[in-house]
Amino acid sequence: MNWVQLLVLGLLLGSVYAMMASGLTLLFGVMRVVNLAHAAFILIASYITYLLFENLTLDPIVSLVITMPLMFGLGVIIYLVLFPRIEGSARYVEMTVLLTFGLALVVEGLLTFVFTGTFRSVRPDYVSTSIHVGDIFIPSNQLYASAVSFALLIGLWVLLRFTKTGTAIRATMQNRGAAQIVGVNVRRISAFAFGTGMALAGAAGSLLSFLFPFFPGKHWQWIALLLSLIVLGGMGSIKGAVIGALLLAIASAVVTDTFGPTWSPITFYLTLFLILLVRPQGLFGAKLRL
């Protein structure tokens, strides 16, 4: 395959990854939560999209309207139920990792129980079509998913940059204590940010449902990939997550083309290891002192 084609495919998938990773890194930035259950929640949204498509033939892109608010609500509830208990504990960050690890297991088990372990996929018409520009081909589903992701990323940027809530979120990311002093209701902002991150997970779930087949155990692959992205970009840096996602998606497209699809995930894990060797803080991260 020629390089332009690989670049295009990489950028298309990369923007979807970027959207997924920005939700995860937002949670880390605001609340120091490494959400190992993020991909499990993404899968919940995928299964909701699957049900809506199978029963009501609702287009998976339209179902974002349902999955995003639903996951926002779920996020706020999870935040309010679980996190006040562990906030202020000596090993907070570690606790969040283990807690969300437990949550991920619960979600995986429940999904397997309800939907069994078989592969599912959502197949609207545009799954099998593609657009040709010169000798470059663009699969329609990837194009649409990428466009939606891009729009959501712009939305996130506008939210963080130009609204009062966004300013409060960014202030909390930079310095939680100082934000509190100048009158930011840190707990409410955290709940809102958790909800926003989860809403992005909801969107990601709907989009992934028609990009790749999925089964309940698949969230481990997704979370490993997402974590590689945000460690590469520097944990808590949204800009880093986006750039990391685009770079790795292109790299993985090249690896897939050269060595076959089996080896494409290895790009992510190997990059993660190499980054840790030379620059543990990631591309845009401050050195982690946790």
Binding site: L82, E94, M95, A104, G109, P216, T262, L277
Partner: protein, 353 residues
């Protein structure tokens, strides 16, 4: 704490019983048991070793009981080992399934290619796991906190992908091992004893570390790494050595378990549920204590066996595992042994450190 830490030395891991007396003065007075800890531990070991004999007249389903005994010992071996890095040093690893696999596959390959019995190969399987642990530790331990956990997950998936595609070891379809030629009724007994060796070794290692300056250094790292470093502890090597040591008896457990299955598949060893169990057992028993992971292992194997018999081998088991983990973290973060010690009600026979 400074007067102890300045004596620390990385080159050897001194194991001095009298350190016990002056190193841990802050602990509330131990309740005077009827029997000393040494006698209690001796009794436990004797019970473990004699159990297969005692069980003959007691249980009708002898092979099943031996299987459960072997699994319990395996998980004791794994959670006690994990506790060395995850409990003492406070570095949570979710990638220890790798060492389980290295142990299982190195012993399996030795049997399949050179005909060496895995029982004899055990020490080497442990060493192989340890060597991989050393290399992996050098890389992953460059990070701290959440980034470390992420790195260990990436390590797990990297190895899984490699094993899944490595034809020499059978790739994802697996590696077949010759069967052990023993009547079915007694089949599990040698595995039981090999696993007992591994479990006793793991607990002994954990005990010796807990009672050494090395263990004290690890605890200092877990409390506050920067302060530990300032106090003169070579934190980097302490962590790497702890990581590597924690791999040894997970490797031996993997070797025995793999042989007992007679068929090795990557997913058996790399499944995230394996790593999850180690973590859960340590936490529920009491992370950072010697007895905790043992108590946790016995408890969780029991709960798991009960739920399998009640509900069958369903996905609900993984839900139970996850839910217990969440509940333990929220309501019971110090675990059974930790909580009992805090309230001063820890029975003497469980006070191993």
């Amino acid at each position: 704490m400074t007067h102890e830490t300045e004596k620390l030395d990385t080159t050897d891991i001194p194991v001095v019983d009298q350190v016990d007396a002056d190193v841990v003065p802050q602990r509330p007075d131990r309740a005077e048991g009827v029997i000393s800890r040494r006698v209690a531990l001796g009794l436990v070991v004797a019970l473990i070793l004699l159990f297969p004999v005692i069980a003959i007249p007691v249980f009708s389903s002898y092979a099943y009981v031996m299987q459960i005994g072997m699994l319990t010992l395996m998980w004791i071996s794994m959670s006690s080992s994990w506790n060395i890095i995850g409990g003492f040093a406070g570095y949570i690893s979710l990638g220890h399934g790798v060492f389980y696999a290295i142990g299982g596959y190195s012993a399996g390959l030795a049997l399949a290619h050179w005909g060496i019995s895995p029982f004899l190969f055990l020490p080497v399987a442990g060493l192989a796991a340890m060597a991989v642990g050393l290399l992996a530790g050098l890389i992953t331990l460059r990070t701290r906190g959440p980034a470390f956990i992420v790195a260990t997950i990436a390590m797990l998936f990297l190895f899984l992908l490699w094993f899944d595609n490595w034809e020499f070891i059978g790739a994802s379809s697996g590696l077949d091992l010759p069967l052990v030629d023993i009547p079915v009724r007694w089949l599990k007994v040698p595995f039981y004893y090999a696993m007992a060796l591994s479990a006793i070794g793991a607990v002994y290692l954990s005990y010796r570390i807990a009672h050494s300056k090395f263990g004290l250094g690890l605890r200092a790292i877990s409390e506050d790494e920067t302060k530990a470093e300032v106090a003169g502890i070579n934190t980097r090597w302490y962590k790497v050595i702890a990581f590597s040591l924690s791999a040894y008896f997970i490797g031996t457990a993997g070797a025995v378990y793999g042989y007992s299955l007679t068929h090795l598949r990557p997913l058996t060893f790399f499944a995230i549920a394996v790593a999850a169990r180690m973590v859960l057992m340590s936490i529920i028993g009491g992370r950072g204590t010697v007895a905790g992971p043992v108590v946790g292992a016995i408890l969780i194997v029991g709960v798991n066996e009960f739920s399998v018999r009640q509900f069958g081998q369903t996905e609900l088991n993984i839900v139970v595992t996850g839910a217990i983990l969440v509940a333990a973290l929220l309501f019971f973060p110090q675990g059974i042994v930790g909580s009992l010690r805090k309230s001063g009600r820890l029975p003497a026979f469980l006070d191993w450190d």
